[in-house]
Amino acid sequence: MTAPNVDAYLREVRAGLRSLPEPEVTDILNELRGHIAERLGGAGQADHGAIDSVLRKLGRPEQIAALYVAENLAWRAESTRSPWAILRGVFHWSTLSVMGFVVFMVCLTGYAFGVCFFLAALMKPFHPQSVGLWVSNRPDSYSLHVGGFSGPAGDERELLGWWLVPIGCSLGGGTILLTTQFALWALRRLRKPKQLA
């Protein structure tokens, strides 16, 4: 049997751990429950003051949860290095802080660019007339764009030709790699949130 404020405390920790798998959450809560119970001296009825002091020493529940999530996402992203795991981790972070949101937007943009480069390289052999890097011939209106399916306007010429395939592939791979490196760097910094000493 546990005191109502201990239950409320653990409920708050659980609420902060939503993004982790359930077995892990149960494991974490069991460990914290054991800690609290033993600090209170086993089965005896503890008074409110004692409970409060134990909980205060343990820290704010939402901060503990945030720290668990941060540690967990950081090493998980690092151990898989998959863009999906990284995006998930960064997305969760983005719900917690402005900095996280900025990092998430950067990563999303980076991966989107990477995928577009790959797509352009992939589409070139199938639609050679409409996929390419086009540049305007008129000297007064210099425009550069990667073509879609509509094809080039009359006064444009293609710049890269078949070179688009290797260049698109290497730019795509490079962008994805760079984005991953950036996200891992950011997540590693996240691992040490400033609010907790």
């Binding site: 974490i28 460990e31 429950r33 054991g34 033993e38 020493k57 720290l67 540690e71 691992r191 000493a197």
Partner: protein
């Protein structure tokens, strides 16, 4: 920003220092055998001044386990709650040794630099 003894800069520096050392202190505490969370906290309390908020240690243990530096297992206690025991893995032992070497090198160098500061203050 203040840079005197009681200022926020030195507080911040101390917080960073604590955090940086906590991981090494945890690995070192587990050097001679397995411990469960609260036991580990008691060792840290007694032998270091590193832990202020106890709840920070548990997430850190969880990451160290995720990185393969620690193993964990639940053991039924005779009385009360089951306990989650942590022990160093082979790679945890290697990491702890490597960190300890770095620590001693750093602190030996710094000691030489810092001793005059304390002497002059007296």
């Amino acid at each position: 920003m203040t840079i005197d003894g009681s200022g926020s800069s030195s507080d911040k520096w101390e917080v960073q220092l604590r955090k940086g050392c906590l991981e090494l202190a945890i690995l070192a505490s587990l050097w001679s055998g397995r411990l469960y969370g609260l036991e580990l906290l008691r060792v840290l309390e007694e032998k270091s001044e590193l832990v202020i908020t106890e709840g920070t240690v548990y997430p850190l243990l969880s990451r160290l386990r995720g990185e393969g530096l620690l193993d964990a297992e639940w053991v039924e206690a005779e009385l009360g709650h089951p306990r989650k025991y942590y022990r160093l893995t082979a790679s945890g032992r290697r990491r702890a040794t490597a960190m300890a070497k770095i620590w001693f090198r750093f602190s030996a160098n710094l000691d030489g630099l810092l001793t005059p500061l304390i002497k002059e203050e007296r």
